[in-house]
Symmetry: C2
Subunit: 427 residues, 2 copies
C-alpha cells in the first residue's frame, strides 16, 4: 500500500481527511505550493517546512527539459535532488506541453513539441510521461492527458476527452509495469542525503487520536519504527501512486462520462483537469460541483490549477481535497499580496510610510518583523528580498487559509468560519 | 559614551577586540556584509542573525536617492526601517558619488552630481552628508571624503587629501552640533517595532570573563538593565559615532600626513579609504601596513571595501579591526562561491551530477542541506533561490573566516591557523 486516504469528518459536502503517501502524511483539504523546477520560487526548503507545506508540486515538462530526468533519477529523484523529505506530486507535462511549447503536433500516439527554452524537438506519450514521472520519483504522479482548450465545440471536447481516457489506460498500464523503478531505493550509501528534519507531520494541528493510532500501527510500514535500521527508510520498498484526470470541457454530460471511464480504469485518486483555462468562474464552480458527484467519495479528489484564496475555500467546501496554483507565488513576485483585509498591491506609494505589518492578522515571519513601508521599498528598489518575503507571506496566507478550513470542518456546522464559507460559496 | 573599544589580545600586529556600539557589541576583527539599500541582497534579516552578522553596512548615496532619508528617519532610522537590531555603519556617500553618479562637479563646498537612477541633480557637502547619515541613524557614520582616483599624480593626490582633511573637520563640526537629532528616540509608541531577538551578542563565541564583566557594569548604559522600562531602550539617549577617513593615494608620506591631520581633528575610529581602486594588491598591502603605523592603537581601524577571503585574513593580521566588501554577496549572485577548497564557479557543467556539499568543511545551512548538483541546477535555471542560497553560503564563509581569525588570535602564536596567516601574509 503506497497511498492511503481516509475521510475523517464531513460537513455538508466538505470533508477533512488524511492522506498517507510514502514520504509524508497530509492533512486534507490541502493546498500544494508549486515548485516548478524543483524550487518553490524564491523560498528555501527549510522555510517551506516552517510554513507547514505538506506536499509541493513539480512540473514534469520543465524538469524534463532542465535539468533532465536521468540526472534527477541518479540523484535519488526529486526528493534527494532538492532535499525535500515531505511529499511531492508531479503533473504529467500535458498541460504545459499544450500551453508553453511551440509547434506541438498531436496524434493518437502522443504529442511532438518544441522546447520553449531552445526550440529542440521532443515527444511525450502516456508511456514516456510515465517514464519521466517515475524517474522524478514524486509520491503522486498524474496520467498523461490532453487539456482541452476553451472554448471548444462539443465534438472537439468529446474527441479530446476520449483521447484522454485512452491515454489514461495506457498511462496506467505503463505505470503498473514499471512502478518499481522508482529512484528512492537508489538513495543509498553513495547518495547525498542529510537529515533535514524528523519525518513527523507538520503544522500546528493537534494530532487526533486516529492520527496517533495510525502512526503507531506497527505494520503500516509508512514510517521507520524505532527498531528499524534508520539508514533504510520505510518508504524504500513502496511505489508512487498514479492519479487519473477527468476532462470533458464545460459539458456536464462529457465530464460525467469522463469520470465514469476514468473510474472504470481505476485509480487511487482522481483529478479534475481542464478548468481555470479562461472560462467564467461561475462555470468553473458548476463543472467542479457536478463532476465531484461522479467521483468516488473514498478517494482523494484533486482540482488542478486553482485558485484565489476565496476559490480554494469554496472548492474545499464542495469536497475538493487537493489543490495547486502558481497564483500565490507568481503574484508575490509581482507585488500582489493576499491578506485577511483583501489584496494589497505593495508597490503603491501610499505604503511608503506605512509602519504597520502587511497583514495585522497574519503571524508569518514577514508580518511579524517587517513593515509595509519596508516591503514597499524592497519592491520599488527591485531587491531580491522583495520576491523572497512576498512569496513567504502569500504562501503562508494560502496554507493558513487551508488550515482554517480544516479546523472549521473539524468543528462542524457551529463554526462561524464554516458558515462564512457556505454563504460565500453559495453567493 | 556612545562607542567603546578595547583591545583584548594582540599577537604580532594582529589584535582581537571588542567594540561597543549603541545597538550591539561587536567582536573584532569583524567583516561587515554590505546592505546597500537597507537589504543585504537576497538574505533576510533573521538569516543574517543566524549567520552571526554583528554589524552591516548601508550606503548613504543609495539610501539618500531611494527611499530617501526623511522617510527612513520618520520610520525610526535604518534600524527601525529594516527591522535590524544589531549594529549598522553607513558610508558617507562620497565613494559612490565618485564612482556611480554622472556629471559630478566638485568644489571646496561639496559635490554636485546626477542620480544614476533618474539623472536628477543633487548636492552633497560634508554637512549634508552628515545630515543624511544622522537621519539614517547608523551606529557608526563616516566623514565625507574625496576618494582619490588611481592612478593620480602627487599634486592631485595632495590636493585631494587636503580637501578630505578640511571636509573631515567640517563633518565633525556639523556632527557635534546635530548628533542629538538621531532618529532612535523617535522609535516610540507610534512606531512599528517588534522584538526580533534579544539584544545579546551574536555568534558562537564563548563570552570572555571581560565580556561578562563589561555587560554587568551597571553604568555602561549600553543595554537595558532588568530594572529599566523595557519600552525605552538604553540606547535611546546615546548618539552615533563619527569616524574619520585617511586618504593620500598610494603615497606613504601623504598617507602619514593624512593620518596625522585626521588624528588632530580627533575621531573615535579611523578608516583607511581610497584603496582597492585598481592598484596592484601588493601596493594595497604596503599602504595599509604603513598607514596603520600612524593610527592610534586604542581606536578601531576600518579598512574600507576589501577584499577576498585571503585578503581579509591578511589585513586582520596587520591589525585592521573592521572591513566591508560587496565581493561575497555580488560574487554569489554570479555563481562564484568561496570554499575552504578554493573558489567554485557553480555554473560549471561538471557539478551537474555532483552529490557532495558545496564545501565539505562548511556548516552553513546551505552546505548542510543541498548538493552542488542542486545549486548548479538553480543557477543554470536562473532561479531566485540560487541567489539566496549562494549569498548565504558566501556570507557564512566570510563570517566564519573572521571567527577563525579571532579564535586564532585568542589562542596566540601557538595556533597553526595563525602561523598560516603569518606565512600567507608574508608571502
Amino acid at each position: 500500500m503506497s497511498l492511503s486516504f481516509r475521510v475523517e469528518k464531513t460537513v455538508g459536502t466538505a470533508r477533512r481527511g488524511r492522506l498517507l503517501t510514502p514520504h509524508a502524511e497530509i492533512e486534507t483539504p490541502v493546498f500544494m505550493p508549486v515548485g516548478t523546477v524543483a524550487s518553490v520560487k524564491a523560498v528555501s526548503q527549510d522555510i517551506l517546512e516552517d510554513l507547514g507545506a505538506q506536499i509541493i508540486l513539480g512540473n514534469t515538462y520543465h524538469l524534463y527539459l532542465r535539468p533532465g530526468v536521468a540526472g534527477v533519477r541518479r540523484l535519488g529523484g526529486l526528493h534527494g535532488f532538492m532535499s525535500w523529505n515531505r511529499a511531492i506530486l508531479t503533473d504529467s507535462g500535458g498541460f504545459q506541453v499544450f500551453s508553453l511549447s511551440q509547434l506541438r503536433k498531436l496524434n493518437e500516439e502522443g504529442v511532438t513539441f518544441r522546447s520553449h527554452l531552445d526550440g529542440s524537438s521532443h515527444f511525450f506519450s502516456p508511456e514516456s510521461a510515465m517514464e519521466a514521472q517515475i524517474g522524478l520519483g514524486a509520491d503522486i504522479i498524474m496520467a498523461f492527458d490532453e487539456c482541452t482548450e476553451y472554448p471548444a465545440d462539443q465534438t472537439r471536447v468529446r474527441e479530446s476527452m476520449e483521447l484522454t481516457a485512452r491515454w489514461a489506460a495506457r498511462s496506467q498500464k505503463y505505470f503498473e509495469e514499471h512502478k518499481h523503478e522508482v529512484p528512492w531505493t537508489r538513495v543509498g550509501a553513495d547518495a547525498f542525503v542529510r537529515p533535514a528534519e524528523p519525518s513527523s507531520p507538520s503544522g500546528p494541528l493537534e494530532p487526533s487520536p486516529e492520527q496517533e493510532q495510525f502512526q503507531a500501527a506497527p505494520d503500516s510500514g509508512l514510517r521507520p519504527s524505532a527498531g528499524t535500521n534508520a539508514s533504510v527508510p520505510a518508504w524504500a520498498d513502496q511505489t508512487q501512486s498514479l492519479f487519473g484526470i477527468i476532462q470533458g470541457g464545460m459539458d456536464r454530460a462529457l465530464r460525467k462520462e469522463s469520470a465514469e471511464r476514468t473510474r472504470e480504469i481505476g485509480f487511487p485518486g482522481y483529478a479534475i483537469g481542464g478548468l481555470s483555462v479562461g472560462e467564467p468562474r461561475g462555470l468553473t464552480r458548476e463543472i467542479v460541483e457536478s463532476t465531484l458527484e461522479h467521483l468516488p467519495k473514498d478517494k482523494p479528489r484533486y482540482l488542478m490549477g486553482v485558485g484565489t484564496p476565496e476559490e480554494i475555500v469554496e472548492y474545499a467546501s464542495l469536497g475538493v481535497d487537493m489543490m495547486d496554483c502558481v497564483l500565490p507565488t507568481r503574484a508575490a513576485r509581482h507585488g500582489l499580496l493576499f491578506t485577511s483585509e483583501g489584496k494589497v498591491s505593495i508597490k503603491q506609494l501610499r505604503f511608503a510610510q506605512d509602519q504597520g505589518p502587511l497583514d495585522p492578522n497574519c503571524d508569518c515571519r514577514v508580518c511579524r518583523r517587517y513593515s509595509r513601508a519596508y516591503l514597499r521599498h524592497l519592491y520599488a528598489s527591485n531587491e531580491v528580498l522583495a520576491q523572497v518575503l512576498n512569496t513567504i507571506h502569500n504562501l503562508s496566507f494560502y496554507l493558513d487559509t487551508m488550515r482554517r478550513v480544516r479546523h472549521a470542518i473539524s468543528l462542524g456546522e457551529e463554526s462561524r468560519f464554516l458558515s462564512d464559507i457556505w454563504s460565500r460559496s453559495k453567493s
